[in-house]
Amino acid sequence: MAREGISRRDVLRTLAAGAAGGSVLQVIPAAAAEYVHQMVHKEKAAASAGKYTPKYFSAAQYATLIALCDTIIPKDEKSGGAVEAGAPEFIDLLTSENEKYQLRLGGGLFWLDSLCTDRYGKVFLECTPEQRTIVLDAIAYRENAKQDSSLRQGVAFFSFLRRLTCDGFYTSKIGIADLQYIGNATLSEFPGCPPLPES
């Protein structure tokens, strides 16, 4: 690639010079801007690699967090799931920096294990798939807490974790592709709306 030696900074400087000069405006910006865009991607892609060590959660809690994220947004025929999308790392990072998250999520994971121990004599991760489903179905709906107030803390925990798992998934490359978002690009004109479906 002939352009390989040019830095993002060089291109931006050229862009700025073009802006001051004025004459090359119509030609330079879209190509140069697109180039900067690609370059940013390469820089960012090169930066992340390696296995993640949890910053806040214990190894056991982190394993449970992974299992929960995987259940909330699983892999399906169209795309990977929340774990592949890096949701557990994202949640662990935020939790390590926020005491309220530590209470809600760290405390919530303890709550979940103690519920499972009461019911089945073992922690969540050691429960059978059927037992896990029963427990999660119990805390995944507000209505259940209205019937059984002992589930209230669990429902609050799961509701918070569900939101953060969605955050983690839908801000990932996989999640954004899953929604078929098209954009974050450079266009010379905005094309407007394709034909509207009949309502």
């Binding site: 802006a19 801007a33 259940t71 947004i73 998250y101 955050d167 978002y181 450079t186 905005f190 509207l196």
Partner: protein, 567 residues
Amino acid sequence: MAQVIRSPKAYDVCIIGSGAGGGMAAKNLAEGGLNCVLLEAGPNVNPEKDFKMWTWPYELPHRGAGVGGRARENFSEFLAPNGAWEIDGEPYTSAPGANFQWFRSRIVGGRTNHWGRIALRFAPIDFKSGTRDGLGDDWPITYEDLAPYYDKVESYIGVFGTKENVSSAPDGIFLPPPKPRCNELMVKKACDKLGIICIPSRLAILTRSINGRLPCHYCGQCGRGCVTASNFSSSQVLLPPAMKTGKLTLITGAMAREIIVSKDGKAEGVSYIDKAARSEKRINARAIVVAASACESARLLLNSKSSAFPNGIANSSGTVGRYLTDSVGSDGWGRFPQLEKMPPHNHDGVGGMHVYIPWWKFDRKNEFPRGYHIEIWGGRHMPGVGMFDGLCYDEEGYGAKLKQRARQVYGTTIGFSGRGEMLPNPDTYCEIDPDVVDQWGIPVLRFHFRFTDYELLQAKDMQQTFRSIVETMGGEYLAKTSIHGQYPFGIQEGGKIIHEVGTARMGADPKTSVLNGYCQAHDVKNLFVTDGASLVTNPDKNPTLTILALSWRASEYLLDEAKKGNL
């Protein structure tokens, strides 16, 4: 005690604040040949390094949620203000029962780096609304006084829009608007049925190159700051030409503490905290332009006490800090199943709406005084944190079904934000808190704030309008509001719309106002306030364009007075 370090150099003008009001003054005064110094409380901004344009959420470790997820509730970490409603070490307080949220941006360019770029002229009637309905006061200037400056500002910064001849929303000098998005076409169609005016919006974003700036590339991320300066910011559009004159000295990390008064009652300098050195310094100037943002400017005036001005400089009327208003804000949204069939397409556009609803009931008798406009949002934007909070709440559950529902509903929400005029009331103002100082030892502001029935009735009307548009469009209205609770009719806390103005208002009568029509203090003729503090009313038009026009007009006047030797 550390000694105050005095700058040996005396400037012609010291400008405090580098946003819309300060940047515009700096440009005009420096280009007019005056030696200026500009104090900015925040750091400098380097667009190519600091702005997150084109960054995907997964390129940031916090994905836009910010450290500890705090930006999730406060302000996305993608955005460019370098500030928010809370700043470490710089508190403010609210009186019992008041809950004012004060947004501050500490960076060169201030809030113009991230603002919504909505650039609306006030209408002729807005300058005389007191006479019209008997509530509040008229401005000391008319639309005709300001119109030439609106022309100049629009021509210089670049605003797109269309000529529509709507009396509540005067036309300006416009670049062509971008084509509407899908959701906007649907809203427009429903508005046509309902007799509501819906027209191309007016934003300070370039759809064509002007003054050597590149046109928009439609990434939809104006709020992050624009690396190509295709939208208006003070830092990229006003300060570079000002710096180019060689007449402007920019001092960053400089938090103004007090305006110093000479024996003859004039402003002679500014005492400020050099944040990096953690020491106090002083600069002398023949004139002072205060543009620190409405409440910050009021705070500075109130903290500038002297034997000549025991209640704060320029405050013989006692009105500094009074007449505080923010815009009335209430939001609504609906879901539109027909959009589930929409093929994926690029919906980004400019960083803001392409169409809007100006105040359209100006010729009727309404339940409330004044009016509001409606901003439109929603559709297939870049996914981000919090986007599926509503879905999670509505759907609950987990697993394949939740994931499938997210696919279905993505991009099918259309939202509406009403932004209306609040009237000043005697219970809404800011003052110096006698008990609290910030980390620089500067006494902080205490806010008093309340809405009256005027604002609540307006918010109620907004909700009814949103619902009727959504239902006409064949959608389901999802916002649930009532007269009860913390947010009656969805009205947001004072300060949340970030249009706080009025705290050093202009007026014909020095007994009831701080400034004259040229933003010049009645009490101190070499002191000017050129930010939102000077506004007499806060109409349903976002204040920035008017601040720019007022500041341009004030700085021309200041130049003229300087030439005549009147300062």
